[in-house]
Symmetry: C2
Subunit: 379 residues, 2 copies
């Protein structure tokens, strides 16, 4: 089967925003795109049917750390990979587990070899190395798999960032080597995206972009942002990375972010996004809508029988009212978690698809500047 | 609009099982039927879309006690009733709240007037009387509304059961009187079903059937069973009630039960059922399938990638595997609650529809006797 291929369809005349598409063996994805996060093999509270029909997701994520621990590789391999296991037959991207080892696991220790950690579930000890993480991602079976990297915390000093970046680059070499030595596991192509690091330092970011670009991967990622730094700094660094990464490859900004973060980063040349925000915030009563942000817990929605959001293309968001969703949330009904998650994801997908339309129409930048204050409004 | 009307289509030659249908202003229901329980305005963990498309529910329940407390009558009335509020446009039946006041509320006191109780949510004090419960059910807007009764606990002595039954009958008169004095709230017909009580005493049950029948209601219910008595006693009493209730009206056995309970009671002449078992047990990893009962938590399903149940007519039950559902349950993923609930409800609906087919074909009794040992099997 064929390696991932990317085609640029249009470039916004007044920003760096681009529209394109990439083809995987599990289907084509139009960019810019937002990828719902299916942490443990399920996008939390959302069925695969709802992902297709309501959210209109094109590609979803799986988290290597979580899937490695549960259900574990033996089950995933016996199933024939994650697509077969969870029934999502579109493209899947898996992260490398590095970020979650450092943010979730108990005791963990970084060495040249990799990261030693204890499971947050049962305290058992494990080693993630560039090699093991490639093997694990082979077994999970993502169409796009991510390099094993270290994501330095914010803030980091220059010496730490320098040292960490060098390690990430050495690990990257080992990732590519391992991947080259092992065949695609299930007959379809598994494509490695390297990750730019360098913390908040422009020179390290540029150096990392150069190194990453030299690998000539089919796509490239920007990591280590949206980890606590000011938004302006994120935009500056994301913009710098986009300028220093190949034009003809998709650029994936990891773990970002709010709807307005996404529009701003699209304008800087980012093509792919993922974030737990739509589902996590949805489960905590925060809705993103085409008219602004809603805290559905608020008394003001008690008798508001208007649709959650009739401005987007999602049956759920039209069908269920604000008052009904508020009631479900107050009564702690599970359906409330589902409706809020489905709606927020559908809004994110609607937003990137609108962005794409405006890039193709050539008026993305002015649309974005009008849209951001609207979707940021607290309703 | 028209009062509920019931048509008998067929009678099984070798049992008392019947097939029929009743027409409400929100649609027609084919009997025998199982009604999913939508406690607080939502069938737990299941969307209204899934109820229609996956479960193929024809009528759902709402619980007066829960809806009265949350979202409350002011919201429900402003919405235009429960159908408008939750978006379920098919028939709805509401219970009278009596049973739940006695099983859920804090301090509660029974008087001739009604039941004084404290909310299990905030401890606030309320009175449910036959009159208030009719008014509340008018506002909730069920197509079928239930009489306010006392459900005596099991076991009850004869003197208590006698006294309780007399009270239930006096309350029934008050329910009908109140309903006659008040118009349908939202333009469609709201139909009162009286409830046979009498605890475990055959003579009281017969007396209650006679009294209830004398009201000439459009349908009749059997209450106070499946409250802890042995199964054989339930069947005996349900059979006795069916024999003593009108042939030409639907008979609703409240709160029953397991799949085999449902088949046995169909054979005794029951037409309508409700129970929280498919959803509650589903949320606790217990699946009812066309091949038997599954504890999906069990290690034996870890690598069983076969569908949850390909013997029934439900996309979910075909789409998701036992191993995937087990994984979701082990990982405490919300989607696991949804899949298990949707599947179990779809199984119950499949079962009553199969029963109906066999009644129409004239071989219900032999089919039932073959089916019960299969669906009772522990897999």
């Amino acid at each position: 089967m064929a390696a991932l291929s990317f085609t640029l369809s249009a470039q916004d005349p007044n920003s760096k925003a681009r529209a394109g598409e990439f083809v995987t063996d599990h289907g084509t994805v139009q960019t810019p795109i937002f990828m719902p996060v299916g942490t443990v093999g399920s996008v939390k509270a959302v069925s695969q049917q709802q992902l297709k029909e309501e959210v209109k997701a094109e590609i979803i994520l799986g988290n290597t750390y979580h899937l490695y621990l549960r259900p574990g590789l033996e089950v995933l391999e016996a199933a024939g990979g994650l697509h077969k296991f969870n029934g999502w037959d579109g493209p899947i991207l898996t992260d490398s587990g590095g970020y979650q080892v450092f943010s979730l696991a108990g005791n963990r220790k970084l060495t040249e070899d990799g990261a030693l950690f204890q499971s947050h579930i049962d305290g058992s000890k494990h080693l993630f190395s560039p090699e093991s993480v490639m093997d694990i991602q082979r077994i999970i079976g993502g169409d796009i798999i991510m390099a094993f990297d270290e994501c330095p915390p914010y803030p980091s000093d220059y010496a730490y960032a320098r040292k960490s970046l060098d390690l990430t680059h050495r690990w990257l070499d080992r990732c590519f080597k391992r991947l080259d030595e092992t065949p695609d596991k299930y007959g379809y192509s598994q494509n490695l995206f390297p990750i730019v690091q360098g913390s908040t330092f422009g020179d390290l970011r540029k150096e990392s972009c150069a190194y990453i670009s030299s690998k000539n991967a089919v796509g490239n990622a920007i990591g280590g942002l949206s980890v606590g730094e000011p938004e302006e700094m994120m935009y500056e660094l994301a913009g710098l990375c986009c300028e220093n990464l190949p034009e003809n490859k998709p650029r994936y900004l990891m773990g970002v972010g709010t709807p307005w973060n996404i529009l701003e980063n699209i304008s800087l040349g980012v093509d792919m996004f993922d974030c737990v925000m739509p589902t996590r915030n949805g489960r905590n009563a925060m809705l993103f809508t085409s008219r602004g942000v809603i805290n559905i817990d608020n008394k003001k929605w008690e008798k508001d029988f208007s649709p959650i959001d009739d401005g987007i293309d999602c049956t759920f968001s039209h069908y269920y009212s604000k008052a009904y969703l508020r009631h479900l949330v107050k009564a702690k009904e599970i359906l409330g978690l589902t409706i809020a998650s489905v709606h927020n994801l559908a809004f994110y997908l609607w937003l990137v698809k609108e962005a794409r339309k405006h890039i193709l129409a050539g008026d993305f930048n002015s649309w974005k500047n009008e849209m951001i204050p609207i979707i940021k409004t607290r309703l």
